[in-house]
């Protein structure tokens, strides 16, 4: 099965990098959609269907924590698995994002293999 992925990050360079490593890792991605913050992600999700969301935390306008809260409050969106990708690997932050409903957490820096492993884990598929 090929998956549709939504990458939410305010850095165009990081979004480009994630698209690239998803391809490099061999993960079966049908399409990578992009959003520059939580608000734009919600806007895209009004018209697009995705299988998994990768989101940064620190973003302008709407950050990753607020995005997680909005997703959890939306009956149509709450079942989409979410993987947080962040430079912050402190236990407090990881715990907080997990409480908000994140199924996985990937700390930067990460390799293509680590990204693929986390994506497969949150999607419940085995390689």
């Amino acid at each position: 099965m090929a998956y549709r992925v939504l990458v939410v990050d305010d850095s165009p360079a990081m979004r480009g990098f994630i698209r690239r490593v998803i391809a490099l890792s061999g993960f079966d991605a049908a399409e990578c959609l992009e959003a520059g913050d939580g608000a734009e992600a919600l806007e895209r999700l009004r018209t697009e269907t995705v299988d998994v969301i990768l989101t940064d935390i620190n973003m302008p306008r709407m950050d990753g924590e607020e995005l997680m809260k909005r997703l959890a409050a939306d009956e149509r969106l709450r079942s989409i698995p979410t993987l947080v990708v962040s430079t912050d690997s402190t236990k407090l932050r990881i715990g907080r994002m997990s409480e908000l409903g994140a199924q996985g957490y990937l700390s930067k820096p990460f390799s293509p293999e680590m990204l693929r492993g986390k994506l497969e884990r949150v999607l419940g598929v085995s390689s």
Binding site: D10, S11, P12, A13, M14, G16, F17, R20, N58, P60, S86, T87, D88, S89, T90, K91, L92, R93, S107, K108, P109, F110, S111, M114
Partner: protein
Amino acid sequence: MTTIEDATLREAVSAAVEQAMDAMFFDAAEPACECTGAGAADCVTAAVRFHDFIEGEFLLTMPRQTAVALAASFMALDPEAVDAAHSEQTVCELANIICGAALSRLDPSAELRLSPPEVVAGSCGLMEWGVWQHYRLLDGCMSVSIRLTP
């Protein structure tokens, strides 16, 4: 506020540099004595401020040519297609990654707050700013410095 020895801070930064360059830039960062062109007129410099368990600022600077090569590698672009924005976004992202990874190493149980990385204009004279660590990369070099607020 936590008290951290300079040597501990530099070790954390060094480990974060090597990890970031290896995993995300597919490059080997080797410690060097200097980085010619860093902090000069035609360089790209990014700053990240942090606060909570410790407070201060992290700086990363590199010659523009190195920034172009890194951006091309990071974003899978032809070096000739790399513009100033690509270079600056890449250096900002690298600064963010290294700073976050270094601070997370120092105290994984603490709260961590980083400001969005910013490009620093007019970097000349920057090397007077504090203690710098220099690294040789496949296509150039870079320098990093971290300063805690007393």
